[in-house]
């Protein structure tokens, strides 16, 4: 049936698919770095071309933000030939990528993709360009082999996901009619392993902070002033060190107040996922585990909120030594939130905490990033059952349900579009998301294309409500 035909299509097109992914991966679409703004645009244009070549229609690069404060462009496309009796599926993902430092740890340049050992090495390979190619090729394959799609299909692929999607909600609100769908399929997540298919039913929220600390106008000579004047590096270090107590609880007052208990079913699904500590540590390259007392590692990374020190920078960091008392310091903290924590409420609590931690006379300013609400899709939702069937057909067993430790705009999609969000994510935990030597597993890509096709076929069973 459809499956066989799609797999034949796939066999005949693997070379072309890898080549087009590699071409796209050459574009350094780092949304967090203003210098790469034109690359993010080039990335959008290139993905628009891939959508057109795949048979999608009404392809458009969508501006975001305002004229005075423009955001990075998103890409939209649709194929509405299934008619009003068929449901509408919106595919979500992103075409921007993370920054690449520390550059010296990459085995090959991040934007010169290498295909080796059944993997593609490049920034963005799995997060998220590879998964977007997966979705386009599924649609293209179905169109090529069947002449039409079983559902009405829309693509909305943004260019600011790695910067916290600052204009995404605005864009959704502006074009809610055009984007309306019966179900959203997000492809921007990982699965447990090729042997243990999983699907993500929840995402943590995100709020992050950039704290500037200043103790003097300029660095001071440590021989002349050291021992009497405040040292910005010390106050920054104390802030970072005080963020967790000895049980690895986040010390910000009220941080855990609004955390919702898991349902029985959610807890059971989480327990069904295995955890091999040795293998987990090997993948991370870490020597030991840390984390909130009283919770398992899986809970700590998915159903519990966390606060991570993303960076701390103060004083001299060059070769040899400089004998100074640093005058300024910077600490970046990223918090992952779970239902029903509210980013704005947490941000207020964090600001109060910083003010209490730092003595008067230490200047501080706090910049807030993100503000993504956490979300979770109920396990008994019909879309999840259809996704489960599609994945079982490709990976040989139904997926386990897990919650992502990561944060995405899935909450915004569900909320603004009023549609359930399910996830078909084929990246693997060892793909080095956000780190040097990011990879995409080609066997996962091929299975993912088949599964994305199967999913569209399954979702045709949904009743259109819009």
């Amino acid at each position: 049936m459809g499956e066989l035909a799609l797999s034949q299509y796939l066999e005949a097109n693997k070379g072309r698919i890898v080549a087009s992914l590699v071409e796209w991966l050459r574009v350094p679409s780092i949304s967090a770095e203003p210098a790469h703004a034109s690359d993010v645009r080039a990335s959008a244009e290139m993905f628009a071309r891939l959508l057109r070549e795949g048979g999608l229609e009404a392809v458009e690069v969508l501006e975001t933000g305002t004229k005075d404060a423009p955001g990075a462009p998103a890409v939209y496309a649709e194929w509405l030939g299934a008619g009003p009796e068929a449901p509408t599926v919106l595919i979500y993902g992103h075409h921007d990528v993370q920054p690449v430092d520390p550059l010296e740890q990459w085995c090959s340049p991040p934007f010169e993709p290498v295909v080796s050992n059944d993997k593609v090495f490049a920034r963005g390979a799995s997060d998220d360009k590879g998964q977007m190619v997966m979705q386009v090729e599924a649609a293209r394959g179905l169109l090529a082999t069947r002449g039409k799609l079983p559902v009405n299909l829309k693509f909305l692929v943004e260019g600011e996901e790695e910067s916290g999607s600052p204009h995404f909600e605005q864009l959704l609100l502006r074009e809610a009619g055009r984007f309306s769908a019966d179900v959203v399929v997000s492809s921007d997540s990982t699965m447990e392993s090729p042997q243990v298919p999983t699907t993500t039913v929840g995402y943590r929220g995100l709020v992050a902070f950039d704290i500037e600390v200043r103790t003097a106008p300029v660095d001071l000579h440590s021989g002349i002033w050291g021992g009497t004047v405040p040292n910005a590096a010390v106050y920054a270090a104390r802030l970072a060190a005080a963020l967790h107590d000895e049980r690895w609880k986040v010390t910000v007052p009220g941080f855990y107040d609004d955390v919702r208990e898991l349902t029985e079913e959610e807890a059971a699904s989480l327990r069904a996922l295995s955890f091999e500590e040795e293998e987990y540590l090997r993948k991370a390259g870490a020597a030991f585990l840390v984390g909130e007392e009283g919770f398992t590692p899986r809970e700590r990374t998915s159903t519990r909120p966390t606060a991570e020190v993303v960076g701390i920078h103060a004083g001299y960091g060059g070769p040899a030594m400089k004998t100074i008392v640093p005058a300024t310091a910077n600490v970046k903290v990223a918090m992952r939130l779970v239902p029903d924590q509210d980013p704005q409420k947490i941000a207020q609590a964090f600001r109060r905490w910083v003010d209490v931690q730092l003595p008067a006379g230490v200047e501080r300013s706090i910049q807030q990033y993100g503000g993504v609400l956490p979300m979770v899709t109920p396990l008994n939702h019909p879309s999840l059952q259809l996704l489960s069937r599609a994945m079982e057909r490709v990976w040989g067993k139904p997926p386990l349900f897990e919650r992502s430790g990561g944060s995405g705009p899935e909450e915004t999609l569900a909320r603004v579009l009023g549609a359930p969000v399910v996830s078909l994510g084929i990246a693997l935990p060892e793909d080095h998301f956000h780190a040097p030597n990011e990879t995409l597993s080609l066997p996962q890509l091929w299975k993912g294309i088949l599964a994305a096709g199967e999913l569209l076929i399954e979702l045709a069973a949904l009743k259109p409500t819009k």
Copy 2:
């Protein structure tokens, strides 16, 4: 007499003196940065020229280190025409300078000197090129006005002082005969203020550490791994935060064990120096004082040992946010030591402390820098009395005796050459040593040249012992 003649010489030569200092300050002789090795050499050559033009003889750029591991060159010169009945004075200073970052805080480029408002703005203006020009011009002025010097004079001006003088002791030992002197005059220090002349009778020792911390081979995605894997930034921050307790005592066990009590005379001299907290804070640009409980700010910066966090760097420090768990971190710590602390013993204690602070499984490596012993010249030494007279003649009152909070190779000079070390330092606390916008006060330079001349005349009273 000599004084009048020297002041007349000075009036006639101010323009030339400033011009030659400015030319020298254009050479970015940053000894800590290997890329500037040729500039350090150019600086040595230029200073050798100034010495020759000043009438000094046997001028030589001296190599340091070994052929395989060369150090930065020092400069030597002498004038031995006073004969064997006259004492020999060795002038010590350095021609290398500190690094310049943060570059963006400089009002003018650090190696494009600006003369404005009776100050010279440039890296090295007061530390130490200005003070070396002061010594050369004093000798030049005496030679020009008297035809000879009252003492035998030697210059030894090194090129690695800002890197902890790694080859200086080796050089002294190698050429101890050539450098032998009855007294060493160091000009690499500050005085209290133009209204309160002071001289430095002691220097703190220095030992510094560069600690690398690693928790994983690469940074990890904070959404996937955050909350379970060790975070290098957190361990670095905890290390830096744990260095002092709530009384600002250094927590390294045994740190204070060998600190020698002050003599009555030393304590009295220290008490005679005023301390204006408001003015002190204004100069530092700080809002409040910190420091070891039970000691005054003056004690904390001169007679008490300290440990300063010079830098801490981990994770992402660029614009916006990156959601990672940092895998590596760097902490730099510089310790100032007082008699009778031993840098090697302190280093061992520090290494043990770091090992106790970091959990097993957090990789760490510690690089040690410096290892300068603390030193102090007894207040009743004849050389100090002669220095006092010379300074009184120029600044109108005798200097108070203070101890420098800084560290220098003065201990090595005293120990290897077996000669007392006195200091004629004319830089001011507000000259921004080691920081952006370093300055030299021209009125202090002019007084310093007169005082350096007076000092040579006074020191002629010493009996030669070598």
